[in-house]
Amino acid sequence: MTATATRPASSDAPPGRAKPRDPEEDEALGKAYDPRIVSRTWEYVKPFRARMALATVLMIVIACANLAGPYLIKVALDYAIPNEDTGLLLLTVVAFFVTALITWLGTYGQTYIMSWVGQSVLFSMRRQLFTHLQRLSFSFYDNMEAGRIMSRMTGDVNALNEFLTSGVVAIASDFFVLVGIVVLMFTLNWRLAAITMLVLPVIAIATHLYRSRSREMYREVRRQNAIVTGHLAENISGVRVVQAFAREDTNRAQFDAVNRENLKRLLKATLWSAGFGPVITFISTVATVIVIWYGGRQVLGEEMTIGSLWAFLSYVGRFFEPINDLSARYNSMQAAMAGGERVFELMDTPPAVQDRNDAYELPRIDGRVVLDNVVFEYLPDRPVLKGISLKAEPGDLVALVGHTGAGKSSIINIMLRFYDIKSGAITVDGHDISAVTTESLRRQVGLVLQEPFLFSGTVRDNIRFGKLDATDDEVIAAAKAVNLHEFIESMPFGYDTEVQERGSTLSQGQRQLLSFARALIADPRILILDEATSSVDTSTEKLIQTALEVLMRGRTSFVIAHRLSTIISANQIILLHHGEIVERGTHAELLQREGHYYNLYSMTFLNAPADDSDSVSPRLEDVPPPPIAFPASPGGRPSNRA
């Protein structure tokens, strides 16, 4: 729903992304009890089983205390008051006080214990899930949108919570109370009880039907509500376009339509759920009337005491609550089971890239990289790299060039072992990267992305991300090396300035420099760089270029190159086309050859028509110059930080 001007899709992104998501998926419907899920969840609860037992005992005590209330009143009405037995009256009063106290403290204890257990379980589940997410490899993230992962971690885990904290114990408690009421009623007067029981199933069925229907209606409401919110969010983030195209009136009408639809559905749902009250009241009043009429005659016939009648009426009045509760629990149990299923499914997803059992630490490397006939595919039988072989000596600069989809990003992905290759081998200083631990490999391979991703936190935190135990001096040294120190110092809070998510604290260029510093402090032996093409102003561009030189110095570097200067200074240019290397060599060599590189180069850097050029043949005047960064304001927003 949000506006789409976020990140452009990475140039050769794995296919199969961005499938429309089924909005129904996260809505729970189905079984209310699934033994597999319950037993999996039980594993988490097991450590707390003593507490669970205590909570259950408390629950029974509370229920008993609750049920005792009307009975005590009956005793007062039937025995104490008519017989003017002050002692007995005092006794019932004291007993009443005791039950009230038990109810209070018991409820406190039980609620506290259960939420403690539930939250502790959730805590460890979330932690485990998160740790698991860290282990999952890229192929998982390719097929799972961030939003869905989020909803697994939040919504689904919380649905399980329902089941834990309120579910099990509350269901048991409700059943206990229901049974208790029935038993007490039969004890008081079995004939009256039997007659009243006729109404009970009607209440239960009506309640359940009503609840299911209204839940469906509210689900529709929520869906429509999400549309309203989405519409709004998009309009806010796209407000500049809206105003530029003077679309306010059209949008207003559109919004009014979705907003009105939301209102309509809501009112429909309200009508339904508000109608629930009269129905239930009617049924339970019928029960009350039966008790008064039939019980009243019994009282008059001396077959029943007034106190019993009164207690009976109280119990009938308490009938509805546990039934309503149970019906609500049924729904939340459904949600819990569905949520649990998804949570455990996520937990059971094996990481596609795993350390071998005999994986060893990669020792400190010089940076000799060899790709030997590497074949790689995201989807079976659709190879994106078809037998790539290349060699880079320590300190080499290798430039990767080629059209979108040629396989440049894929090479980066497999070198960091974000994915495992299908066949062939990648070795670093002679160590096969699949034989060493991924952690030790990635520690020595630095990655600088096209669009720097910074974490919220301070500038210092972000630089230190590259080396957690870096001293302040090291952080400053890294910032100095990439020409960022002066700027950082000029900010009011210096290195403690918070980096905002998409905030205006740092410009695009500064964010890039910051990501350089982060890579630099990690001191990788191999550097992988997806060169940014986005435009920064002249002075920043100059800073970036010198910083790049510092960054690449003494490291083997693989660069998806966009800057002419980078390409020209490369020891090797690798020209990729449809997953194959079609040409390699230095800039001068390749130009000399007048082959593919020459064509690509002339088209992009000069846009002169090449031999096999496409239908458009521009005149020289029309030809766009190279996409070399040139002054512009970053972010496409009016620059108001004068």
Partner: protein, 647 residues
């Protein structure tokens, strides 16, 4: 109070429904009071009396009472139904109106506002603040009235029945009230603290997921897990603390009301023994006391509803009261069809600083020094909602004011220029030199602080905004598309055009080729639920969108998005097509654009420091030469270096 009154103003539009809802409420309360009386009658007369024939009880009366109870109860529930529906109707209408108002107001607020407002903050206002306004205008007011009426009525009745017992039983009420208020003032804030920590926890999660490449590349999984565990731990603690207090206080209220029952049972029982009270009255008394406990328990909830409504209302009206400085002046006429002559006359501009949500938080120190894990510090309040933070809101408003009292630094100084119809004006300069600001003055996204901007001789402030903007095309650096079909996106400015026209625009923008390859062509949805277009594809759709408007004046942020070289070429083609025959202001990035421009303006710190055409400027010493040397020259050299055949 004024805020609550304004909120109620929204409900006032539906006063008829409100009045009906309240009639239902009052009738329901009165009938509800009859219930215990019926029970009393049943016990005292139906079952307890001695009839003339010496028989105990009064069977026909018992029957009447039973039927009466049925009638009363059903009526009450129907009244309740009417009340809750009508009330919900009114409050949902209020929410609907508020959302519509906010939506429309927000989309008309000027760029200056949106530059500083955070989308997330605005969203939370339109969602959760509208919600608390809704709850207040609906449940909030209703429950308040309900509580007061129930209190007065029940107390009166109890006093009438047996005043000593009534006073005695009322002793518990202050305690329940106190517990309820404590609940509202202590437990609820704990829950909102917990909520904030939850937001913090999800923020860490979200960041981790979106930044997964970086996390993995730096092998920081362990570190991230620890970071998450810390937040997770804090959440756990807050959750348990909040639940614990809640678990203590909520049943406490029930306990206190049970004490009331106990006192009635004891003293009332003694009174019955003495013959001063009937059994039925005693039981009726007990029922009334039970009924009183319920609204008392509600007290805490009501208090928190009201206080949240005040805070929320304040935030909502802050938006609704924000005045767009850019508005049609009264009586202005539409802009006639534009020729394309654009003149700036001694234009200066300074940003006004509007009061906007979440502003001022841009620079924020980290409250405490780095801890072991680096992220362990308390950041709960950051960027979050500020329920209890009225004072800072107020302070901010004092600082910035609702009206343009806060004037920022001047970003354009004394700009004069004239562009003839069809000319291409290239703007060059560093970040922050004022290029974007300058072009934003033409469609009047901002008003000049001094001087005037004229199009075909009309001051842009003297024509209808709408008619002006529709004749100006805009292609921004970041091409923002909406989640709709490609066709709808292209026809964004003119939803009524034919498919043919859309296709023509798409072809001219070099977008047709890739559109055909999409699963459903023009009808393919883009955006979150649809396909993801690449940066270059989006840019071409945006160009098609501008082309379709056939603007006379074109504003172009000539940026190179992260696209591959071939796409770049196609975009260039599309731009050339777009610029043909239009007065074009281009924030230039490319040598060709600069070389072909009819005028080049070099900006520095908001002033035009150089102007002319490429051939003359390149020979002068000055900023243009600097820019040229640093970047454009490379491009020239490439051209020179290329073997002759290519040229």
């Amino acid at each position: 109070m004024t805020i609550l009154r304004r909120l109620l103003g929204y409900a006032y539009r539906y006063r008829l429904y409100t009045v009906l809802a309240y009639i239902c409420l009052l009738a329901g309360i009165i009938l509800g009071l009859a219930q215990p009386i019926i029970f009393q009658q049943v016990i005292d007369r139906g079952l307890g009396s001695i009839g003339p024939d010496g028989q105990r009880g009064d069977l026909p009366f018992l029957f009447q009472m039973a039927m009466l109870l049925l009638v009363v109860n059903v009526t009450i529930s129907l009244l309740n139904f009417g009340m809750s529906y009508l009330n919900e109707f009114v409050s949902q209408r209020v929410a609907y109106d508020l959302r519509n108002d906010l939506y429309d107001h927000l989309q008309r607020l000027s760029f200056a506002y949106h530059n500083r407002a955070k989308t997330g903050e605005l969203m939370s206002r339109v969602t959760s603040d509208v919600d608390s306004a809704r709850i207040f205008t609906g449940q909030g007011v209703l429950q308040t009235v309900n509580t007061i009426v129930v209190y007065v009525a029940i107390m009166g009745l109890m006093l009438a029945l047996h005043w000593q017992l009534a006073l005695l039983s009322l002793i518990t009420m202050p305690f329940i009230g106190y517990a309820a208020v404590t609940y509202g003032t202590r437990v609820r804030p704990m829950f909102s603290r917990m909520q904030r920590q939850w937001a913090q926890l999800t923020a860490v999660l979200q960041e981790n997921i979106t930044g997964v490449r970086v996390v993995k590349a730096f092998a920081r999984e362990q570190y991230e897990s620890e970071k998450f565990a810390t937040e997770n731990q804090v959440y756990l603690e807050r959750n348990i603390a909040a639940t614990r207090l809640q678990a203590l206080i909520y049943p406490l209220m029930i306990f206190i009301s049970a004490i009331g029952t106990i006192m009635i049972l004891w003293f009332g029982g003694l009174e019955v023994m003495r013959g001063n009270l009937t059994l039925g009255t005693l039981l009726a008394f007990n029922s009334y006391l039970q009924r009183l406990a319920q609204p008392t328990r509600q007290l805490g909830v009501i208090i928190s509803w009201v206080s949240r409504a005040v805070a929320s209302g304040e935030r909502l009206f802050e938006i609704l009261d924000a005045k767009s400085p850019v508005l049609d002046r009264p009586g202005v006429s539409p802009m006639p069809p534009i020729e394309g002559r654009v003149v700036f006359e001694n234009v200066s501009f300074a940003y006004t600083i509007p009061a906007v949500p979440g502003a001022g938080a841009a620079l924020q120190p980290k409250p405490d020094r780095l801890t072991e894990t680096g992220f362990a510090s308390e950041r709960g309040a950051k960027g979050g909602r500020h329920d209890d933070d009225k004072s800072s809101d107020k302070k901010r408003r004092e600082l910035f004011g609702d009206t343009p009292s806060g004037i920022g630094e001047t970003v354009l100084h004394d700009i004069s220029l004239a562009a003839e119809p069809g000319q291409v004006v290239a703007l060059l300069g560093h970040t922050g030199s004022g290029k974007t600001t300058l072009v934003n003055l033409i469609p009047r996204f901002y008003d000049a602080t001094a001087g005037s901007v004229r199009v075909d001789g009309h001051d842009v402030r003297e024509v209808q905004l709408h008619s002006l903007r529709r004749q100006i095309g805009l292609v921004m650096q970041e091409s923002l598309l909406f989640s709709a079909t490609i066709a709808e996106n292209i026809a964004f400015g003119r939803p009524e055009v034919s498919l043919d026209a859309i296709e023509r625009a798409a072809r001219a923008a070099q977008a047709w080729e890739f559109i055909l390859e999409l699963p459903e062509g023009l009808d393919t949805k883009v955006g979150e639920r649809g396909v993801t277009l690449s940066g270059g594809q989006r840019q071409r759709v945006a160009i098609a969108r501008a082309l379709l408007m056939d603007p006379r004046i074109l504003i172009l942020d000539d940026a190179t998005a992260s696209v591959d070289m071939r796409t770049e070429f196609q975009i260039q083609q599309a731009l050339q097509e777009l610029m043909k025959g239009r007065t074009t202001f281009v924030i230039a990035q490319r040598l060709t654009t600069v070389r072909n421009a009819d005028q080049i303006l070099v900006l520095e710190h908001g002033r035009i420091v150089q102007r002319g055409i490429h051939n003359s400027l390149v020979t002068e010493e000055g900023p243009y030469r600097e820019i040229y040397d640093l970047q454009l020259r490379d491009q020239e050299e490439v051209m020179a270096q290329m073997p002759q055949r290519a040229r």
